[in-house]
């Protein structure tokens, strides 16, 4: 009955994981990740002005002129920055400055054109800004993506996980090593698949980072369980399945506490840090949570399956051994 339950649970977990991972791969292939955070595509309005502007008052007023023009044309900017121009040959900052306003990808070009024309009319010759040579322009931006870091990252994670788990296999045996490898691969894939499915906005560089955090967590949590199993295997008093199941029970608290310790760090930084940092750090919580599932549910079932097969084979070998008897018969 227990075995039946275990097999059924394993099949269910495997099905859930497979569905999520396959759906994630398909969605990634079709849509990629939601990399809206990068602001690769969108619009920008640059308002250039020189040092003759009265920095204390006019700079602020200029901002108001621009923002009024945007409001009148129904435009909402997402970011405003005051930047320094740089001399392109010496790369030193000059006294000329610019205010940049960032707009989303769905912004109307016509409205931007009108707003920019209104700003230029308000700050042109004959106005108090004339000496500062204020000039506004809008830009449409379309990002080009780099794929090298993503595929090299995938290879790096695969190789790193294989080598780290090779070490675990050498130290803890085949069943725990292979199950750990399965957990690691599962966690890395499951984490990025979830990100692709839920369409949570990420930065281009973060999915591969989350996958490596998941692999790291997977190694840490799996080793907690594996060391407990190893103790049981060493004692050799119980069957593999029993040892693994009791190790899962005994380690549940440790695994949860460890995951909580790592998760708390990410949560605190994510909760306090500013917008961009939070958006980059917070999804890593997924990479901490997924390995709990694989360590406590999926991995043990894989380890049990392999361990049982190994034990069966050993027993068969023991049962089939007739060398000594044959030798005795021959001697007689």
């Amino acid at each position: 009955m227990t075995k039946f339950k275990g097999n059924k649970l394993f099949a269910l977990l495997l099905a859930v994981s497979s569905v999520v991972i396959i759906a994630g791969i398909i969605l990634y292939a079709v849509l990629g990740f939601n990399t809206a955070n990068d602001k690769f595509n969108g619009y920008r309005v640059d308002v250039n002005y020189n040092v003759l502007i009265d920095l204390n008052k006019q700079e602020e007023d200029l901002g108001k002129v621009c923002e009024d023009a945007f409001a009148q044309n129904g435009l909402h900017f997402t970011e405003k920055q005051v930047l320094n121009s740089v001399d392109s040959s010496s790369m030193n900052e000059t006294v000329d400055k610019l205010i940049t306003y960032t707009f989303g990808a769905g912004t109307s070009e016509e409205a931007l054109g009108k707003a920019v024309a209104a700003i230029n009319a308000a700050v042109g010759s004959g106005t108090e800004y004339a000496d500062a040579e204020v000039f506004a322009r809008w830009h449409g931006l379309e990002g080009e993506r780099f794929y090298d870091p993503a595929w090299r990252g995938a290879i790096a994670i695969a190789v790193a996980v294989l080598v780290a788990l090779g070490y675990i296999t050498a130290r803890y045996g085949v069943s725990l090593g292979v199950a750990g490898l399965a957990c690691c691969a599962h966690d890395a894939l499951f984490t990025v698949a979830l990100l692709a499915i839920v369409r949570f906005p990420v930065y281009t560089f973060t999915p591969v980072l989350y996958a490596s955090v998941a692999a790291f967590m997977s190694v840490v949590l799996w080793l907690i369980l594996a060391s407990k199993c190893k103790e049981g295997f060493k004692a050799g008093e119980k069957k593999g399945e029993e040892i693994v199941r009791s190790a899962v029970k005994e380690c549940r608290k440790s695994v949860l506490f460890t995951a909580l310790a790592f998760g708390a760090g990410i949560l605190v930084v994510g909760a306090i840090a500013a917008g961009g940092t939070a958006l980059a750090v917070l999804p890593a919580i997924l990479a901490v949570a997924v390995p709990i599932y694989s360590t406590l549910f999926l991995g043990p079932e894989v380890a049990i399956a392999i361990r049982t097969a190994i034990e069966k084979r050993r027993e068969q070998k023991k049962g089939g051994y007739t060398g000594k008897k044959k030798a005795e018969n021959q001697a007689e």
Binding site: G113, A160, I272, T277
Partner: protein, 515 residues
């Protein structure tokens, strides 16, 4: 450990921690008129383009990046157009009566020369003859579009090949290219200017780059029949641009430098019309590989090699580009981001210590000392190791490394607690606890360090930085939890009476009543 030894050791360690804390966090100015500034390690940490911060001198800003716009020939910014037009109009207005007509004609000609794109309020102006094919053209020619696309493809290969994080390439206004490079490279000027060079790769020799005799190609030949490629290399602290020649290329160079022993020859290597390298030769060169050193750094050698290699292999383009509108950008995640990261790190450390002091009372001091040493060492390492800088990936690796140390200490403390509960003495419980945990923690840290070092070696950009930080953090965490923390534990316990040791660590013995 005797009380005296412990007192001396703990005093020295406390001084060390306070010293590290001071160096890491305190910045101040000193000297006459405060002309010198001591910058803390935290303020001097190299920051990526997403983070950034002002140094204590108030002038230098670390982090952020530089953006520039590449304008192809025939395309100018609307501001440039307006400035030029206003200047011409002013000349016409101030011109003497005899010259007025000519000046006004110049204004008209200039207005007719360009078309604003994509509409009358557009951000760029296209020169009709160059971009639209004729003086009266209004549509961009297919040839220009193809050339522009080829140039973009070349820029893309170059910027991607840099393998630097926070590098951005965007098509701006359909016919210009906006590029962003992080400030931490230190080679942003070289990157922005040399990557803008387009055109074919070539080489030549002569007295100056403009009049040098260039390689003449026979019908059906390409430069690739002479040059295989270019890459960066280094030997110790000397960086090279290496040019790989074919046998035909080797022969050409040997011919050019045949008389170099008597009269020095200068060789030039071009991308388009721009000489990227000029090499003075005093002896005959007869090699298949040409290693050219100069004042190259790791990054500048890569930039020059990449620019030449992509010119050699990339799609051809006739367009030349100008670098304009260069701007210094601040932290992409806002200037407040770094401060909030420091605040959250402080809160995180406080939370962790609260847990340790509540659960282990005085033993929390052992963890506090170990953690602070680990933390400040990590800050010094991130500051000192050239491959590392402060970014989101470093932050994540530091969180994971710190948590690894905390979890490892909890594991050993809990193991010792169990042993103590079973009736052992404190010294014996600590010994047994560490013995029980040693291999478990050893394996944990080794596996994480291996994971980290391979991510560093194979991964690129953020993943590589994450891997290296994680690897160093895991090694230090392993040493910290297995040796340093144990030492601190012993040192602190030496001040506690025999009966108070359990209370000091908040450990209890399960005393079985024989009766």
């Amino acid at each position: 450990m005797s009380k005296v030894k412990s007192a001396v050791a703990l005093t020295l360690i406390t001084i060390l921690i306070l010293g590290m804390c001071f160096m890491c966090t305190v910045s101040f100015s000193y000297g006459t008129d405060r002309m010198y500034t001591f910058n803390s390690v935290v303020s001097m940490l190299t920051k990526d383009a997403k983070l950034g911060g002002q140094l204590a001198d108030g002038e230098n800003y670390l982090g952020g990046g530089y953006t520039a716009v590449y304008y192809p020939e025939g395309v100018i910014s609307a501001q440039q157009y307006e400035d030029d037009l206003n200047a011409l109009k002013e000349t016409a207005a101030n011109a003497a009566a005899a010259d007025k007509a000519e000046a006004e004609e110049a204004v008209g000609k200039y207005e007719a020369k360009y078309i604003r794109y994509p509409d009358a309020n557009g951000p760029i102006c296209l020169e009709k003859e160059t971009v639209c094919g004729s003086e009266n053209g209004t549509e961009v020619t297919e040839e220009f579009k193809k050339n522009f696309q080829n140039a973009v493809s070349q820029f893309r290969t170059r910027y991607e090949g840099l393998h630097l994080e926070d590098v951005k390439l965007q098509i701006a206004d359909d016919y210009t290219v906006a590029v962003t490079v992080p400030a931490y490279t230190g080679a942003q000027g070289v990157i922005l200017t040399q990557f803008a060079y387009t055109g074919a790769f070539n080489m030549g020799y002569g007295s100056d780059a403009a009049s040098a005799t260039k390689l003449t190609l026979a019908k059906g030949e390409t430069v690739r029949d002479y040059v295989k490629g270019a890459h960066a290399s280094f030997n110790g602290s000397t960086y090279f641009v290496v040019i790989d020649l074919t046998d035909a290329g080797r022969q050409v160079i040997a011919d050019w430098t045949a008389s170099a022993a008597e009269t020095a020859v200068t060789m030039y290597f071009y991308v388009g019309d721009n000489a990227l390298i000029s090499l003075s030769v005093n002896e005959t060169i007869d090699e298949n590989t040409l290693g050219i050193s100069g004042s190259y750094t790791d990054e500048t050698s890569k930039v020059v090699a990449l620019a030449m290699d992509t010119a050699l292999r990339g799609a051809e383009t006739d367009l030349t580009f100008r670098v304009e509108d260069v701007v210094r950008t601040h932290a992409g995640f806002s200037d407040l981001a770094l401060t909030l990261i420091y605040v959250s790190a402080g809160l995180l450390i406080l939370g962790m210590l609260a847990f340790f002091f509540l659960r282990y009372r005085g033993l929390g001091l052992a963890h506090l000392y170990t953690f602070l040493i680990w933390f400040f060492l990590m800050l010094f390492i991130v500051w000192g190791v050239p491959q590392l800088h402060l970014g989101i990936e470093t932050l994540l690796a530091l969180i994971l490394g710190g948590a690894l140390l905390a979890v490892s200490d909890v594991m050993t403390y809990e193991a010792a607690r169990k042993e103590y509960a079973m009736g052992r003495t404190m010294a014996s419980a600590v010994k047994a606890g560490y013995k029980k945990c040693f291999w478990r923690l050893f394996d944990l840290h080794i596996a994480v360090a291996v994971l980290g070092v391979l991510l560093f070696a194979i991964g690129l950009t953020e993943l590589s930085v994450f891997g290296l930080t994680l690897c160093i953090g895991a090694v230090l965490s392993g040493l910290g939890s297995l040796f340093v923390s144990r030492f601190h534990w012993a040192a602190f316990l030496s001040f506690v009476s025999r009966d108070g040791k359990g209370k000091f660590c908040n450990f209890k013995q399960e005393v079985e009543d024989d009766d």
